[in-house]
């Protein structure tokens, strides 16, 4: 068996990073983001990145740390409302942004990972999202053609990984991670917990090992909460 488990994040990314590359990253907001691997990408010094991710982190956490160090040339995202540095760089023309509707972004990664070059969706028809794209009529509705995304590198955050690289995500930290895992030429995962072979229920594996080339035990599991919203304890 090829050894997929790597000693640390820097070694896991060895030979995979180059300037101008496209990196897809899992996560929704700050939930389920590959914290450990993002720090390693920052440390590597790689630049002119195109990042594919639903969000752009916040100013000092998640993908925001790559933006803050001006490592990002282009973001392909659906919602970036939480990042002021992002907004500043975008309005100053320093950062290229391609907004995708959230479902379109998810489906573009799913399609890319499944070898499907393009698909049609109703989402965005009649809006600026459809400008410059083929619009085709099926039945009595118009659909816009969107293309699949294949990234040079995909980074995902799992809850558990077994020695083969089978992954299980936890609750809403699953989000984009399964699609991201499929759409990388190479996929590197970080898992909170490494478990022995045979201890994951084969019926409950979210990302089968074939999609994962390397993985590490996550050493950053801060899991910062963006909007801690609570109700009073019942009396």
């Amino acid at each position: 068996m090829a050894e997929k488990l790597q000693v640390d994040a820097n070694i896991a990314l060895e030979g995979l990073l180059f300037d101008g590359m496209t990196i897809a990253a899992g996560g929704f907001g700050l939930c389920g983001i590959p914290e450990t691997l993002i720090y390693a990408v920052l440390e590597s010094g790689v630049r002119d990145l195109t990042l594919v991710s639903n969000n752009a982190g916040v100013d000092d956490f998640g993908l925001g740390i790559l933006l803050a160090e001006k490592r990002v040339r282009k973001m392909i995202s659906s919602y970036v409302g939480e990042n002021k540095e992002f907004e500043r760089q975008f309005l100053a023309g320093e950062l290229e942004v391609e907004f995708n509707p959230q479902g379109t972004l998810a489906e573009r990664m799913r399609a890319g990972g499944a070898g499907i070059p393009a698909f049609y969706t109703r989402t965005g028809v009649g809006t600026m999202i459809a400008e410059g794209k083929e619009v085709r009529r099926f039945g009595d509705s118009d659909y816009v053609m969107e293309t699949g995304i294949v990234a040079d590198l995909a980074l995902v955050k799992a809850w558990k990984a077994d020695p083969y690289g089978n992954l299980v995500y936890r609750k809403s930290a699953r989000n984009f991670n399964p699609m991201v895992a499929t759409c990388g030429q190479v996929t590197v995962a970080e898992a909170e917990i490494l478990v022995p072979a045979g201890s994951l229920d084969p019926d409950s594996i979210h990302t089968p090992a074939v999609f994962v080339q390397r993985f590490i035990r996550a050493t950053s599991n801060e899991k910062r909460i963006e909007r801690r919203t609570i109700r009073a304890e019942a009396a």
Partner: protein, 218 residues
């Protein structure tokens, strides 16, 4: 609850409560960020509704107590949330299969502008606001019925229910019902005009006309 006759129009909670009356037993619904989130507080007793959140939760629970907070359980507004006995977690692709595949009965969304033809603008102000569309474009394209909750006029007093949207669209001809702080407009299908069906307390039809640019039936 005593009725104060000096009060004019609906509060945000009252707008949300009005929208909650559109929930039918057995519905699966997606509530947008802001006032639409409040709708969940007003679902009538005996009406069983499953709330979906586009980041991948079907069956949203209430906000957690301090002890229940789990960073791996958030809603699409990135708020901490809890699960229920019916909850399932799914990937973003599966979540949007529910939305785009027409499996969600109702979505309640906020808006910057609604046009008389049902166009909706709620994601972008060119040169100013560049947050991105998030899941709104997918929701309006795929959910069976779209209700918009918004203030009747902008902070500067200009009408938000217009003949045409001036801002970039989120979706073309997608709004089925519009609830503002002054009135409720509905239409039976997306081929017909909106009809004024309710006025908020103390609000006259003349006032609504004066504060509306869109044409509507009354």
């Amino acid at each position: 609850m005593a009725t104060d006759t000096s009060v004019k129009g609906w509060t945000r909670d009252q707008m949300a409560a009005r929208a909650a009356l559109e929930m039918h037993d057995g519905f699966t619904a997606n509530l947008g960020i802001g006032i639409p989130t409040l709708v969940g507080n007003f679902i009538p007793p005996g009406v069983d509704v499953t709330l979906q959140s586009e980041n991948g939760i079907l069956g949203l629970g209430p906000f957690p107590t301090e002890r229940e907070v789990d960073p791996d359980i958030i809603n699409a507004g990135k708020q901490t949330i809890t699960e229920l006995d019916r909850t399932s977690y799914v990937s973003s692709a599966d979540s949007f299969a529910m939305i785009r595949g027409g499996h969600i009965d109702l979505s309640v969304l906020g808006a910057m502008e609604v046009a008389e033809n049902g166009d909706l603008a709620n994601w972008m102000i060119p040169g100013q606001m560049i947050k991105g569309p998030g899941g709104a474009m997918d929701l309006v394209a795929g959910v069976r019925r779209i209700i918009v909750l918004m203030d009747h006029v902008s902070k500067s007093g200009s009408p938000k229910f217009r003949t045409h949207c001036t801002l970039p669209l989120t979706g073309a001809n997608v709004v089925d019902m519009l609830i503002t702080d002054l009135a409720v407009f509905d239409r039976k299908s997306r081929n017909v005009a909106f009809r004024l069906i309710e006025l908020a307390p103390g609000v006259t039809i003349e006032e609504v006309r004066a504060k509306t640019e869109a044409s509507f039936e009354a």
